[in-house]
Structure formats: structure tokens, C-alpha cells
């Protein structure tokens, strides 16, 4: 269609191959600054992000496929990767329930201290992970304020896998709360009133009216919390105990491999994790799109 337009409006061009490019570059625009700002954006992105990631992929690709598989399947690496993904999954499930609860309470109820509680949710975002790590290790340690009773009950938290889950729940919690809270806030109170006036119990109205609307946000929060937890290092480092095969997470193994100058091994584990987290985030985007399309189509 644009070709037909061009044929009627423009004189036949002598060098048609350059014309599209010329049109992009010299198309009159009202606002100035596209080329310098876009150029700088791509350049800076390339130098700071793309070239370093390229180096990782380049380094990992110096190994053959069988070598890559043997690095991942090596007993210690496999244990660390399973632990990182497994503990993150458990923490993300915990956060899905606890985070949705906190989001619900913050969005729905008015009570003294609400804005303090609301601010506290962001603390894991803001607190340096090494500070979070030593604080959690102290609190949940065998002689800590909370950890002591757990240890006496025969279920020590610090230096076990449970401790790793606690630290990952700490870092992942804000992702669920901050994703779900705005959606609950924007829920139409009229729908619930309609449900209750039609005879629905409070639980029924939650299950049939509210839950379907906030499920996509909960799923997104779950995935964001999971993705963040898989790569977490600082807050886990102190509380984990770091025993190979038992409480050694994958990011720590990368550090260990670097200290032994095993760059290729570190690159393979790093590329595996990077690949996994990109897949998680892409599937979140696809899922969100699918859900909104379905909701939009179904409700209108």
C-alpha cells in the first residue's frame, strides 16, 4: 500500500535501494534528537550489557556440547543447580501465599501503622544483600531470637536448606506484594457487592469473583520472585552453611570455579542460569498476554 502511495506521489527514484534508508534518516520530524539519543542508547547498551553477555556466551561456546553437558551433570554442579532451582521454587510458593496475603491486607484494610507496614515491604529491595544475610543468619541462627526455638524443636534453620528458603523468601517477597497489591486496589467493589447481594458467601465471592481477576498478577509475582531467587547470592551466602552437595547454591559454585580459574566451567553454569531466567521471564510475558487476551475477549 505504501508502494502504491509512493508511486503516485513521488517521482521515480534513480537509486531505489537507498531510498528507504534515506526516508528513515531524513524524514522530517517535529521533535529533534532521535539520532543522538537513540544512537547513544544503543551504544551504551551495547558496551555495558550486550558485549559482556556476548563474552559469556563466547566463553561457554569454547566448550563442545558433550563438555557442556558433562560440566552441568557433574555431581557437585548438578546438586548446586538443583538446590538453587528447588529452594527458589519452594520460596516462590511460600511468597505467593504470604505475599498475596500481605498485598490483600495492605490494599483492603485501613489500620494504624498501615503505611509503616507498606514501607517495610520494600526493605528487602533496598537493603544490601550482605546486610540482610548477616541479620537473617543472626536471627535464625542456633542462638538467635527466632532460630533458638526452632533449633530446640529439632529443626535448625540457619546452615540448612530451610535457612536458604528463609533468605530467598526474604528477597522475593516484595515482588509478589508489589505485583498483586495494585490489582487488588483497582478491583471493582461493585462486583463483590453484586455477588453478595446475589447470595454468595464471602468465600464464594473471593473464589469466583476476586481470584480469577488477580490470578494473572499472582502468577507474575510468583515468576518474578522465582527468577530473583535463582540468582540470589549475598543474603544466602551467610545463612546457607555452604556445604558442597548439601547447602551450596549455584551462584556460590560460580564464585568457587572463578577462584580456581575454571573460567569455562563458571561460564557454562552462568549461561545455564542466565538462559533459565530469560526463559522464565519470557514465559511470564507470553502468559500475561494470553491471559489478558482471554479476559478481554471473555468479559466484553
Amino acid at each position: 500500500m505504501s508502494d502504491a502511495k509512493a508511486a503516485t506521489n513521488a517521482r521515480p527514484a534513480k537509486r531505489p535501494s537507498l531510498l528507504p534508508l534515506a526516508r528513515v534518516l531524513w524524514r522530517p520530524r517535529v521533535l529533534p534528537g532521535l539520532l543522538p539519543t537513540l544512537g547513544f542508547t544503543w551504544l551504551y547498551l551495547g558496551v555495558v550489557v550486550l558485549i559482556p553477555i556476548g563474552a559469556l556466551i563466547f566463553k561457554a561456546s569454547t566448550l563442545s556440547f558433550t563438555e557442556i553437558v558433562s560440566v552441568i551433570m557433574e555431581r557437585r554442579t548438578f546438586a548446586a543447580l538443583s538446590l538453587s532451582f528447588g529452594a527458589s521454587l519452594v520460596a516462590a510458593v511460600v511468597n505467593t501465599f504470604a505475599g498475596t496475603l500481605v498485598a490483600w491486607v495492605l490494599a483492603r484494610y485501613r489500620f494504624y501503622g498501615r503505611s509503616l507496614l507498606d514501607a517495610v515491604v520494600d526493605l528487602p529491595f533496598a537493603l544490601p544483600t550482605s546486610v540482610a544475610g548477616i541479620a537473617l543468619t543472626f536471627v535464625y541462627g542456633p542462638h538467635g531470637w527466632i532460630g533458638e526455638s526452632f533449633a530446640e524443636a529439632g529443626m535448625p534453620v540457619a546452615f540448612t536448606r530451610l535457612g536458604i528458603v528463609v533468605a530467598l523468601s526474604f528477597v522475593g517477597m516484595p515482588f509478589v506484594v508489589r505485583t498483586v497489591q495494585p490489582v487488588i486496589q483497582e478491583l471493582d467493589a461493585g462486583l463483590e457487592e453484586a455477588a453478595s447481594s446475589l447470595g454468595a458467601t464471602r468465600f464464594q465471592s473471593f473464589q469466583r469473583v476476586i481470584l480469577p481477576t488477580i490470578i494473572p498478577a499472582i502468577a507474575t509475582g510468583f515468576a518474578l520472585s522465582f527468577a530473583r531467587s535463582v540468582g540470589e547470592y549475598g543474603s544466602v551466602l551467610f545463612i546457607a552453611g555452604n556445604m558442597p552437595l548439601r547447602t551450596e547454591i549455584a551462584p556460590l559454585l560460580i564464585v568457587t570455579k572463578l577462584e580456581q580459574f575454571d573460567y569455562a566451567g563458571a561460564a557454562v553454569i552462568g549461561a545455564t542460569m542466565l538462559f533459565a531466567s530469560l526463559i522464565i521471564l519470557m514465559s511470564v510475558q507470553l502468559f500475561e498476554r494470553a491471559v489478558y487476551r482471554k479476559l478481554g475477549g471473555g468479559q466484553s
Binding site: 517535529v30 521533535l31 529533534p32 534528537g33 532521535l34 547513544f40 542508547t41 544503543w42 551504551y44 555495558v48 559482556p52 553477555i53 563474552a55 559469556l56 566463553k59 496475603l101 500481605v102 490483600w104 491486607v105 484494610y109 489500620f111 494504624y112 507496614l117 514501607a119 517495610v120 515491604v121 520494600d122 526493605l123 533496598a126 537493603l127 544490601p128 544483600t129 550482605s130 546486610v131 548477616i134 541479620a135 543472626f138 536471627v139 527466632i146 523468601s169 526474604f170 517477597m173 467493589a189 463483590e192 527468577a227 535463582v230 540468582g231 547470592y233 549475598g234 551467610f238 551462584p251 572463578l258 573460567y263 563458571a266 561460564a267 552462568g270 542460569m273 542466565l274 530469560l278 521471564l281
Partner: protein, 279 residues
């Protein structure tokens, strides 16, 4: 309506609401608030003198200096990038825009350890350009440039992510009017755009600064842990803790905790301001 939990405006507080509220408070208490209190309580466990000694120790001061230098480089450069990227993305249509937006988000989804690993693989002794750097006696990894680079990578998206939705919501009508009336690009930016987005920039800068001061994983990988040379405050906390100097570690940790608390307060103030302004 004021004190009790209230499900819908005008409805009486219900028993189950109190239960949910109690559970939510418990979750935040054991997971976030108690560890926060523990930091301050441990720092002053033996009185004020050990605390003062720990934060005025020469190693702590060197670490604080390096943290401040790193932040002073990373935050301005990422702020300039954030404003530039937001201008290009929100004021123009071009090919590859959604790809560009996705790529800007990548550092968010990269593990801090992997961020550090990227720069070791590039500049380390066995890295891609490592041999070249060695020949010319340039030190990037295990030195300040590596720490700065890793911090820039980690804090890369913060300002851009804050400004893109803000400038998209504001549209370009005011800028178009200014240009039509004869203003040039820079005049339009300084007089029209900047006043509109200044609180968004402040917000982005605050989050960026808190993260730059507190980054641990990425900096830990590229630092080489040379005490008094390539030590930032979060790394200093780790070193003191591993030397069983709990009071020292928690004392330095209070400084970092204060930075993040100030960031949270500024963030709250800006959010309140936005709420008050929107009709």
C-alpha cells in the same frame, strides 16, 4: 473506619479480617522487621564505643570512600543514559523499540554473581581481552574499574525504567508546542521536559544510589577481596563477619541500613506527593 480493619467502606470489621491482618503482620515481622531490628541491636550490643571504633576504623573509611566513588560514577552516567533512552523511546517511533525496551531490562534478570562473572570473562587474566590488558599493564578486574563497571551494569535500568512509563503517560504535546513556537531541542528539554520529569528522575536516582552503595554479589566477584584496596562497604561487612567480629560487621551494616532507610523515606515522600497531585 479509622482503627479497625474494614473490608468494604461502610461494612463492619469481621473476625476473619483481624485474622488476616494478624497473619500479614506476623509474616512481615519475622521476615523483615526482626532482622532490621537485629542489625541495630547487634551494632550497639556492647555499647557505643565499639560501634564508633568499627565505623571509624581506617579500613571502614577506605571502604566507604570506594563505595562513594563508585556510586558517584555509576549513578550520574546511568541517569544520563536513562534520560536519553527515555527520550528516544517515548518521543519517537522506530524499528526494534520493543526489543530495545526488553534489552534495557536484562540486568534486572541477571544474577549479581553472573554480572560479576561477565566482567571477569571479559577483562580477567584468562578473559577475552585479559592478555591485551596485561601487556599494557592495565588492571580492571580486582581493581576499582571492575567494581565501577559491575555496579554500572547492576544499576543500569533503574532510571530508564522509572522515566519511560512516566514520559509515555505525559505525552509530547507540550514539547511539540515549544518546538512549533521556535524553541530548539535543548531549550525544549531544559524548559519543558525536565521540569515535568524531575521527580521521576529523583526517584530513579534514589533507587539507583541505594543499589549502587549496597551491591554485594557482582562487586564481590570482581573485587578480589583486597582489604583496604578494593573493598566496598558491603564487602567490608562480609570480611568483618568472617573474622567473627560481629559487632564490627553489624556496626558497618547500620551505615548501609541507614542509606536504604533514607532511600525508602524519600521514595515514600515522592509517592505521597504524586498522590496529592493527581486529582
Amino acid at each position: 473506619m479509622s482503627a479497625g480493619p474494614n473490608v468494604l467502606p461502610g461494612k463492619k470489621p469481621q473476625g476473619v479480617a483481624w485474622l488476616l491482618l494478624g497473619l500479614a503482620v506476623l509474616v512481615l515481622l519475622v521476615l523483615v522487621l526482626v532482622p532490621l531490628i537485629a542489625v541495630f541491636s547487634m551494632a550497639f550490643a556492647k555499647g557505643i564505643d565499639p560501634f564508633l571504633a568499627a565505623i571509624s576504623h581506617p579500613d571502614a573509611i577506605t571502604a566507604a570512600k570506594l563505595s562513594l566513588i563508585t556510586t558517584a560514577i555509576a549513578v550520574p552516567i546511568n541517569t544520563v543514559f536513562g534520560v536519553t533512552a527515555a527520550w528516544a523511546i517515548t518521543k519517537f517511533e522506530f524499528r526494534g523499540k520493543s526489543l530495545l525496551i526488553s534489552l534495557i531490562d536484562v540486568p534486572f534478570s541477571v544474577s549479581p554473581v553472573i554480572a560479576g562473572l561477565l566482567f571477569v570473562l571479559l577483562f580477567g587474566s584468562r578473559g577475552v581481552v585479559g592478555p591485551f590488558l596485561m601487556e599494557h599493564d592495565l588492571q580492571v578486574i580486582y581493581a576499582t574499574p571492575g567494581i565501577v563497571l559491575a555496579t554500572i551494569f547492576i544499576t543500569f535500568p533503574f532510571v530508564a525504567r522509572e522515566l519511560i512509563p512516566l514520559m509515555q503517560a505525559q505525552g509530547s504535546e507540550e514539547e511539540l508546542a515549544a518546538v512549533t513556537l521556535g524553541a530548539d531541542g535543548l531549550q525544549t528539554f531544559w524548559r519543558i521536559t525536565l521540569p515535568n520529569i524531575k521527580w521521576g528522575i529523583v526517584y530513579g536516582v534514589v533507587v539507583c544510589t541505594a543499589r549502587a552503595m549496597g551491591e554485594f554479589g557482582a562487586v564481590s566477584v570482581v573485587s578480589g577481596h583486597i582489604r583496604g584496596l578494593t573493598n566496598t562497604l558491603p564487602l567490608h561487612v562480609e570480611i568483618l563477619y568472617n573474622e567473627y567480629d560481629q559487632v564490627g560487621a553489624f556496626s558497618v551494616a547500620t551505615l548501609l541500613t541507614l542509606v536504604s532507610l533514607i532511600a525508602l523515606i524519600v521514595k515514600k515522600i515522592i509517592e505521597r506527593r504524586d498522590l496529592a497531585q493527581s486529582p
